[in-house]
Amino acid sequence: MEAQPTQNNASGLPGGKTLAAIYGSSWFGTAFRLGALALIDAFAIWFVAQLAGEGEWILAGFVAVVTLGINAAYLLNGLYPYRWFSPGLTLLIIMIIYPTVFTVYVAFTNYKTGNNLTVQQAETQLLKQLYLPEDAPTYSWTVFRSSDDPDTYALWLIPTSDLATETLFVPEGAQFSASEVDLGEFELDDDGIPTGIPGYERLGKADIGIIAAVLPEIEFGESDNVIKIKGQRAGIFRQKYTLNDDGSLYDNETGVLYKAIEGTYTPTEGPNMTTDGVVLDADGEPLDVIRPGYYVPIGFDNFQRLIENERIRGPFIRVFLWTVAHAFFSVLLTFSLGLFLSLMLNAGFMPGRAILRTGLLVPYAIPAFISVLVWKGLLNEHLGVVNKAVEYIGLEGPRWTSNQWWVKVGILLIQLWLGFPYMMLITTGALQSLPGDIYEAAKVDGASVWQQFWNLTLPLLLVAVGPLLIASFAFNFNNFTIVELFNEGNPPISPDTAAGHSDILITYTYQLAFGSGRGADYGFASTISLVIFLMVAVITFFNFRFTQSWEEISENV
């Protein structure tokens, strides 16, 4: 059956008053469609321009391509079916495919705390910075607050240096000499400061105390002659950095030239440069690099660190092995218990089987985040009921959260509790569909119950539920919820690394990017993400090959 664009179907019909005729293909539909498209385009053009201005080229490109696609789908009749996909595909491309592509890109960059901006964003921020030159005119200041807008302030400035020639009144964005100010009913006090100005009220010490934190941030006066407060003085500030054509920054205050090395502005020369390249300031202190910097591609450096740096490789291998072991044992344990219980419940003479089965589903029905937190309480090392019971019978309670082995046992125990009902569910279904006659044959041949189980039931069952077991393995490979909520990957392996003994790859990634206290290393976290990608791809490929389900899927298209 071929797609039939139906725009013109209704026009030739006799009963033209039906809803179908109005909504279907009339001028109304076309106008609505084109109007909506125009709105989308207007939004997209604005958004792409914003993103491009910030240097977010990859995202801007994705948004542009998606917008072109939407236009094509709605303007070309040949692409009619894609109109139905436009919301879904837009979301898929922007929210899934773009992050995937960007993850690959970030894995090859030094995107991290301190280098977390694009070039444009870093330059814009740094060029905004100001400083008070030593030869700048300075003033003593008094703050006035606008009566109309209580968040707007102005300064009355009285010269304190020879370079400052006259008394000034400077609101935000303007500048007047004192003689220009119409005092109205107010007058100057003994210090030459007005007691008030029409539209403004003079602030006392108490009021200034309240806004002391924001006051030094406010830029008074005209934009090319910015006046700011610094301590007891106010003065005309100048732009701190000048951007050169080659992307380097010149510090107008110290006279140091900063070159961007891998996105970090590093001093190249200064008053005192030591022989090994460290730049010292006039007091003999090393000059710091300028933050923020920007992120740049650094080739395979992140991968190299992973492979060559002993302090990273060691913990990484531990995390990797535990990730695999955790997924494997989770599946093995839940499958074993689930199968055992479904065999126990499968006998024909068990009364109330259906109710018992439903009853055992309850742990599976509870949201995992709740179960894990509950278990965290039960397994509390000192006060939890499990350890109290263990200590009651005279044994030492396991250190569920501080011992590197017990924490793993604890996680697997929780996994078992959460997961056995699912395995019971799928094995029950599979058991009931096993052919009965082969067991008759086995009995005739004198096979014992054990032999029947190992040689008939288990192999047949594994063929049936194999794909689900592999899917379960893949799911647990990335089971963030359990590991993160139970112990946040702790106990730590060593102070050198973000990895903990119970961390799996996905929680390790999370710690690298969002963990507190170490700064974010998005580049390296993305590198680990790529390793997980690779693993999931291998598992999935294996699953498709093993079960030939890909052929089945392809046929179902």
Binding site: P81, P87, L91, P363, S433
Partner: protein, 296 residues
Amino acid sequence: MFSAVTDFLQNPMARAKWGSYAGRMLVIVLAFGFAYFPLVWIASASLDETGTLNTQKLIPSQLGLENYKALLDSDIHPFATWMWNSIKVASIASILSVMVSAFGAYAFSRFRFTGRRNLMLTVFLVQVFPNSLTIVATYLLVQSIGKHISWMGLNTHGGLILVYLGGALGINTWLMKGFFDSIPRDLDESAKIDGASDWLIFWRIIFPLVRPVLAVVGILTFIGVYGDVIISLTLLKDKDVQTLAIGLRRFISDDFDQEWGVFSAGALIGAIPIVVVILSFQRFLVSGLTEGAVKG
């Protein structure tokens, strides 16, 4: 009666059967103990007014609803807000997701067009990779979007829902497409002859007929979003916008053992809606999950 007993004692078959029954019952009882012990324990804790991990006993010494009151009144742990946030986000995400997915399923089911096969396979393959793998890039993406569209940025429900919707066109579309295929095309054809547009056919004819599968997909999406930890934990920082999954987590960091009773009350209230939904719709939900097992 007497004969039954002698029969039991003398007949090995009957004895084996009874023995096996008793053994099975013992296993089932143990399994129930394992499955329900944590639940009974927190149910008891939630009613125990002493309220701490240390003082709790199986039979509460001071029975009462104090923990539930404390839970709903607390400013430190705004439980009602978290619960509402979770329900709001999960409802919006699942309704939008079902709509987006249904449009796709309709087109896959009813139209034949260039690229259809590749698109279907792409949609299937993409969902193999959970979006938690790109969590870093997703975080940075939402941050970038939020700079320009503030209600879809970090720390907003708009941004969170947007991330959940990324996978709307996925395995659910496949599930729906199969169901859509089972609706006879004759219905579409006759409507078309009457002059109905595709949109009207979808909305007036197909949509009412496929409501069961939409409900199943909607419920599964709701449960998935309600239980999400990694994305909400990454995107939402402020207490008042957080969802239940990460709100409850705050109890661990803040004096977990002292707040045990209140936490237990929250855990129960948070779990019950989902448990009720899953157990009531068990037959429909489970058939989707276990299909592969029987097909083998």
